[in-house]
């Protein structure tokens, strides 16, 4: 950019007009203008064959690019895959037996093994167009029965949800987008919220039942040595440091300095012990599934990823759980759209 501009025009009026035009467009979009939606849908449909054709043309570029910039990654990935293959070959027989057991377990907890959800297979015709827009474009639209909010999956697990639909294509917000959220299950905890953090970043789970500095009031019934019942209300304040695996149930002992003096008729202090439910135990490698609760947009049991880190930051009672997506979101070519209406959206 070494050439000098020969026109030195610098008009504030032009800039003000452009800013006003932009703000008008932003306002129209924020108010859900059908003009903006219609224009975007029309352009998406018009561009679909073009992006489809050029996408196919440029797809080998990705292999070359990865070969240049991700050579070491690919090499280590290859070695890892070979190792995994050997492991899985040895476990083949075990897996066959496990499948039968898993079927029984699914039946026990009343989970459908294969939900009868109609689906539509779609090709990815557009990747992430910008660093601020973690969406991909698929070649299925409203003409194929696709609606906003439908989950998108691969054989590996959840990919994202349909964000916008035109007649012959749709845009899917990927699960690593910061605007993506989903109710998930980790182990015994089934009411946590998963949020994306951007491309290349692990997903983050906000635990609903996270341990924290809690002030609880427990009503406890105790019996003194003389057999007389004594009902006491004990204010208990405790700190639950972490729920990382290895910890047992948390026992809260009352009768300390903060507790009121409660004594038996003979003057001995009443000992009150209350066991409160331990927060969910979460360990590295645990599988994260969609929770499928009533308000969830996703059916129950879709794999989302595996827990990679469980950290309790110093000075905080909260847990930070990061999750590696089950699906490689950078290499999507064919996906499946689940034509799933959440229970509260059904007529």
């Amino acid at each position: 950019m070494g050439s000098r501009p020969r026109i030195a025009g610098r008009s504030r009026r032009t800039l003000i007009l452009l800013v006003l035009a932009s703000i008008t467009a932003l306002t129209l979009d924020a108010r859900g203008s059908s003009v903006v939606d219609g224009l975007r849908s029309t352009i998406a449909d018009l561009m679909r064959p073009v992006t489809d054709a050029f996408g196919s043309l440029f797809s080998p570029v990705e292999d070359v690019w990865n070969g240049v910039f991700r050579y070491n990654d690919l090499e280590s990935e290859n070695a890892k895959l070979r190792e995994q293959l050997d492991t899985y070959k040895g476990r083949e027989a075990v897996i066959a037996g496990s499948e039968a057991e898993m079927q029984r377990l699914y039946a026990l907890v009343n989970l459908p093994f294969a939900a009868d959800i109609p689906s539509s297979v779609a090709n990815v015709i557009g990747g992430r167009p910008s660093n601020f827009d973690q969406t991909i474009q698929l070649d299925r639209g409203s003409a194929d029965g696709v609606k906003v909010g439908y989950p998108v999956v691969t054989g590996g697990g959840l990919v994202g949800r349909v964000e916008r639909v035109s007649r012959h294509s749709c845009f899917v917000r990927l699960l690593d987008d910061p605007a993506f959220t989903a109710g998930v299950t980790i182990g015994a905890d089934n009411s946590s919220l998963l949020v994306g953090q951007g491309t290349g970043q692990p997903l983050l789970v906000e635990l609903a039942n996270k341990p924290r500095l809690a002030a609880a009031t427990d009503s406890t019934s105790t019996t003194g040595p003389d057999g007389a019942g004594a009902t006491t209300t004990t204010a208990v304040s405790t700190s639950i440091a972490s729920s990382v695996a290895g910890q047992g149930a948390t026992t809260i002992a009352g009768g300390g300095s903060a507790a009121p003096d409660v004594t038996n008729p003979d003057g001995t202090p009443v000992s009150t012990t209350t066991t409160v439910p331990e927060p969910p135990v979460i360990t590295r490698g645990m599988v994260v599934l969609t929770s499928g609760l009533d308000v969830s947009l996703y059916p129950k049991g879709i794999p989302v990823g595996t827990v990679t880190t469980v950290v309790s930051p110093p000075g905080s009672g909260n847990l930070a759980v990061t999750v590696e997506p089950a699906v490689d979101l950078g290499r999507l070519s064919v996906v499946k759209i689940l034509l799933y209406d959440p229970p509260d959206a059904r007529p």
Binding site: M1, G2, S3, R4, P5, R6, I7, A8, G9, R10, S11, T14, L15, L18, V19, A21, S22, I23, T24, A25, L26, L28, D29, A30, V36, R40, I43, A44, M47, V50, T51, F54, G55, F58, S59, V61, E62, W65, F69, G126, G127, R128, P129, S130, N131, F132, D133, T135, E163, R164, R173, D177, P178, A179, Q197, G198, T199, G200, Q201, G330
Partner: protein, 171 residues
């Protein structure tokens, strides 16, 4: 006989469509550390280089608006950011008396990083989720590197796009 491409507006529209197609189909395949180039921003800055801040901002606005049609971010956000970035960048170039390639490369990198920061800030204002600081830095660095590398090509194209304007005698 005048060619249809004699019009700056038509040449700008043609470049906008071609660059948009490249941005949608080629760029997503070329990621570094989870971030990719922003060709639309690059050509917006190139327009400011060859046509000055005023016309450059108008062309940048068009590029941004065309890009917004294919994005799921608030409609008009790219147009706003590109127009502001082109205006500021074009103005800054005017104030530099001598340009060496080193200075130009640095100014392109800074303008790109500033545009990314401005985009993130305005996106937050308009209700988009906040980008994590680590990712923001990565996006700034990657976009700046791409833009510095591709700037000579973008400027050549932009010189052709704004040929009628740049060959007009300076006032």
């Amino acid at each position: 006989m005048r060619s249809i491409l004699d019009s700056v507006a038509l040449r700008t529209a043609l470049v906008a469509i071609v660059v948009l197609i490249l941005q949608l189909t080629l760029v997503p395949n070329m990621q570094i550390a989870g971030a990719s180039a922003d060709l639309m921003l690059l050509f917006a800055l190139a327009a400011a280089t060859t046509a000055g801040p005023d016309v450059g901002a108008k062309i940048a606005f068009v590029y941004g608006l065309v890009f917004d049609l294919m994005l799921q971010t608030p409609f008009g956000l790219s147009a706003l950011v590109y127009a502001l970035a082109a205006y500021m960048f074009g103005g800054a170039l005017l104030s530099i008396s001598r340009t060496s390639w080193r200075v130009t490369a640095l100014s392109v990198a800074l303008a790109t990083a500033a545009a990314v920061g401005l985009y993130a800030l305005l996106a937050r204002v308009f209700g988009e989720p906040w980008m994590t600081p680590g990712r923001m830095v990565r996006v700034m660095l990657v976009e700046a590197a791409f833009n510095v590398f591709l700037a000579p090509i973008a400027v050549k194209v932009s010189e052709w796009t704004t040929a009628d304007l740049t060959h007009r005698p300076a006032r």
